[in-house]
């Protein structure tokens, strides 16, 4: 048997990803957030390795509107898979069939998987599958991907070799006449199979298709004339004609195949929404949920787990046993130092976060899987738009409080290019779980008993996001009118345990992998740098290579209050992974035997405000290499990545400097230079936020609306 490529297409939230997982057994995440399938994934069928399933992003149309639609359309037109498996959400069939009709127009053999049929009964709806298959002229299989029902008959249908010729839907005769005449103009330019698709796209005046076909002037004129005539007949513009024709066709299909028993009744999902997205209750509920997520993951369960890992597992058990074994084997003392202090100490410090991270992603996974995440976007949009971000930006920001890497990756769900780029740039300002170590260190040692020190770090991140949103929108990079926000709210469903377990597993595995590789390597490097000099002779800390590097850069950080080689080295190693900041400080201060001793050494070396400036700088500056890598991947462009990293580091420097210098002013011990620096920093901020004029694109009069938003702030 020959190999066959099948494209998996369907609306966002049609259960496409669940079906993909079920058919291929691939380790992939399933969520309820619209557009969760953002990457192109493929896999061979579990039950038949000859069939390659190519997962397309969730789309509503083949119009060139979103990046997802562009990807899907390009793939279908240029790669032309042998078959399309179209997942149709039976509970939402009218809108789902809109895409099906467009897929039929490509003339690629199609199989419809009518998903979520188990939910139809609750909706009081019945669908006659046979009739639907007959009317569409393609096989229709009723399935439930969630309940794993009828999957085998779907596979049997996919395996059938002789696919029926596609009969594309015929619309209003007046429209068909116009399309037929456009098709004539395409004779010999596109293959017969593709003529229908191109004719419709030309009728819709799709600019991309026009550019792609490069028709000569005569044909172009003729087609333009045909469209004009049709528009006159229908008294509507050409794209409306097509859309109305498709929806009319669907209504017709529905009339024949769908029976609605009983009127629309409030489903459970609607009733939940009445409370959850209620005008007055939505925000309190939202903050309650977020508080619960953090309480559970950072404090109670996650916190207890982390304490155990830090104090018991990596505090006593592993180092003690390792020491015993190493001594028994008569390992050279320097190797013992490397393994116990460098590797076990460092990796342990990182792995201590695992329980917190697992708990956090467990909570986020549940929220995402049950459908609450998209309600968050709905509730938060108004607030975020004030800062020139979309409601969808909230999710990357939220995920970034766990880890910036998935946070950056989740920006793909934002439709607007500008909003996405800005969110990528700002999302790592949120304190991730790794930065939590720095927060915990500074708050725990320098601000003991001051309960506001740690939350203030979160506020700092949020303020950085808000101010940057306001500032960046004024630059030519992000100027322009606000982007539309059109989103579907998926029906709530009970989260699926295996989805969530897979989600948590993937996230934690990624984290452990990072701890096991990059951080392991960097630990060895730091250990080497801090225990040897340039001649590779073992030396005490204060004459090591790390010290030389740190001392070289220290003057730059003097205005921030920590122009000291140890803190600077911690900043440098923080680039590898933010967890390293703490570990490096620990190593640089000669591995104090107890936490109390470490605290003593630190408080002797830095003032509390210098420590807070150190915290602020690490919070906001360029993220770790893994996050920078993710940024580069998402931007797809080194220039943008540098821009983002540069902006972040500059802002971090400015913020840290202001914190430290202002604290000097307040405490009354300042020099002329301090005053100068504060004035410089404040005026930069004031200029950027208030006085800087928005960039005016040459022909854009929409900036006025932005001005008015300003006055409301």
């Amino acid at each position: 048997m020959k190999h066959k490529e099948i494209a998996l297409a369907g609306n966002a939230n049609s259960g496409k990803t669940t079906l993909f997982n079920l058919l291929t057994g691939a380790n992939q995440r399933v969520g309820n957030w619209p557009g969760v399938t953002v990457e192109r994934k493929s896999g061979y069928l579990k039950k038949d390795k000859q069939l390659l399933l190519q997962d397309l992003p969730g789309i509503y149309s083949l119009a060139p509107y979103t990046p997802e639609e562009l990807v899907a359309r390009k793939y279908l037109l240029t790669d032309r898979p042998q078959q399309i498996l179209d997942v149709v959400d039976a509970t939402n069939i009218e809108r789902n069939l809109y895409l099906t009709l467009q897929l039929l127009e490509t003339k690629i053999p199609l199989v419809v998987a009518l998903n979520m049929t188990d939910l139809l009964k609750k909706q009081g709806r019945r669908i006659n599958t046979k009739k639907l298959a007959y009317l569409l002229g393609v096989p229709v299989v009723k399935i439930s991907a969630l309940k794993k029902k009828n999957i085998d008959s779907l596979i049997t249908e996919l395996k059938k070799d002789e696919a029926k010729e596609i009969v594309y839907p015929k619309y209003d005769p007046r429209l068909e006449a116009a399309l037929a005449m456009i098709t004539e103009q395409l004779e010999g330019i596109v293959s017969v199979a593709e003529q229908r698709f191109y004719a419709i796209k030309l009728f819709e005046r799709d600019e991309q298709i026009q550019a792609e076909l490069q028709l000569d002037a005569k044909r172009r004129e003729k087609i333009a004339e045909l469209i004009k005539t049709a528009e006159k007949v229908f008294e509507d513009d050409s794209s409306s004609i097509i859309i109305n024709a498709r929806y009319d066709y669907i209504s017709h299909l529905m009339d024949q195949c769908v029976i609605d028993e009983g009127d629309f009744s409030l489903s459970l999902s609607d009733r939940i929404d009445l409370v959850v997205t209620n005008r007055y209750l939505a925000l309190p509920i939202f903050f309650g949920v977020m508080w619960l997520v953090y309480y559970l993951s950072i404090q109670v369960i996650g916190g207890a787990g982390s304490d155990w890992v830090n104090d018991v597992l990596f505090g006593e058990y592993i180092p003690d046993n390792a020491q015993r074994i190493l001594q028994a084997w008569h390992v050279a003392p320097f190797m013992q130092g490397l393994i116990i202090d460098g590797i076990i100490g460092g990796v342990g410090a990182v792995l201590g976060f695992l329980p917190q991270i697992m708990m956090l992603f467990l909570c986020l996974g549940i929220l995402e899987d049950c459908g609450y995440m998209s309600r968050i976007a709905f509730v938060m949009d108004r607030i975020f738009r004030r800062f020139n971000l979309s409601g969808k930006s909230f999710i990357p920001l939220l995920i970034s409080t766990g880890c910036g890497v998935p946070g950056i990756m989740s920006t793909r769900t934002i439709e607007s290019e500008k909003d996405r780029k800005m969110t990528i740039m700002l999302t790592t300002f949120m304190p991730c779980s790794a930065k939590l170590t720095v927060i915990a260190l500074v708050a725990g040692i320098f601000f003991k008993g001051q309960s506001l020190a740690a939350p203030a770090a979160y506020f700092l991140g949020i303020i950085a996001v808000i101010c940057s949103g306001i500032y960046l929108k004024k630059t030519p990079l992000f100027a322009g009118e606000p982007q539309p926000f059109v989103m579907e709210l998926p029906t709530y469903h009970l989260p699926k345990l295996d989805n969530i377990i897979r989600y948590v597993w993937n996230k934690s595995r990624g984290f452990v992998k990072k701890a096991g590789t990059i951080i392991f390597a960097s630990m060895v490097l730091i250990w080497l740098l801090s225990n040897y000099n340039f001649k590779l002779q073992p030396v005490p800390q204060d004459s090591s290579m790390l010290r030389d590097f740190g001392s070289l850069l220290a003057p730059i950080f003097a205005p921030l209050g920590f122009g000291d080689w140890r803190a600077v080295s911690a900043v440098l190693t923080g680039l590898i992974a933010k967890e390293n900041c703490v570990a490096t400080l620990q190593v640089a201060f000669g591995n104090p035997s107890s936490q109390a001793q470490f605290a003593h050494l630190l408080t002797a070396a830095y003032t509390p405000m210098a420590a807070y400036a150190f915290l602020a700088f690490n919070l906001l500056c360029a993220p770790c290499f893994a996050a920078i890598g993710a940024m580069h991947k998402e931007y797809g462009d080194a220039k943008w990545t540098w821009r983002a990293v540069g902006y972040q580091t500059f802002l971090a420097y400015l913020a840290a400097m202001l914190i430290y210098q202002t604290s000097l002013l307040v405490s009354g011990t300042f020099s002329f230079l301090n005053v100068l620096l504060v004035i410089l920093g404040v005026s930069l901020l004031v200029y950027g936020l208030i006085f800087k004029k928005s960039y005016q694109p040459p022909t854009d009069d929409l900036m006025e609306t932005e001005g008015s938003e300003w006055s409301q702030l």
Binding site: Y60, S61, A63, Y65, N92, E94, R95, Y98, Y171, D172, D236, S239, S240, I243, N244, A245, Y247, D248, Y249, S251, H252, M254, D255, Q256, I259, D260, F264, D273, L274, T277, N278, R279, Y280, A282, L283, A377, F378, V379, D381, R382, I383, R385, G391, P482, P484, F485, V486, M487, E488, L489
Partner: protein, 159 residues
């Protein structure tokens, strides 16, 4: 509001209610004749002749007996109603889309989601700060910002 059998002018009408016994109601339902659908009357019911309508791309002949059970409102009648942006409609109010403005891509996107002329939409919810809005259209829920809802001009209709 009037009975379809009593319509005295050709043109577009909206179905506002379907009555009659269970059997008939079900049949009309199956034909797609439900609240909020738009029909075009082609020939009038003169002298109890029954009437011909255009409905979702098909021509249908209806006997007077059936037409009596269908209540309609003329689009012409509605045309007298002021056109308002969707953003200014009260909660739970149904309305018909009169036109969609805005940039080409945005308009296209809204239309792709099923928001076309003479489609019934109902405002069902708003976010805490009154923005964005949640509407029901073609049997599913859609979220829109106020600024987009501003582009969608509608006429109120009481169903």
């Amino acid at each position: 509001m009037q009975k379809l059998s009593e319509v005295s002018q050709r043109g577009k009408y909206i179905v506002t209610a379907v009555s009659g016994d269970h059997q008939l109601k079900k049949r009309l339902n199956e034909m797609g004749m439900v609240r909020g659908k738009v029909i075009t009357v082609i020939t009038l019911n003169t002298h109890d002749s029954g009437l011909m309508i255009h409905f979702q791309g098909q021509r249908l002949a209806l006997s007077e007996g059936i037409a009596v059970n269908i209540e309609v409102v003329g689009i012409e009648e509605l045309a007298g109603q002021e056109i308002k942006p969707l953003s200014e409609i009260e909660l739970k109010q149904s309305c018909l889309i009169a036109e969609i403005g805005g940039r080409k891509e945005l308009k296209r996107r809204l239309m792709d989601m099923g928001l076309t002329q003479n489609t019934l939409v109902t405002l069902i919810n708003t976010a805490p700060l009154g923005d964005p809005l949640e509407i029901k259209v073609r049997g599913y829920k859609l979220t829109l910002r106020k600024s987009e809802a501003d582009l969608i001009k509608v006429r109120k209709i009481d169903l």
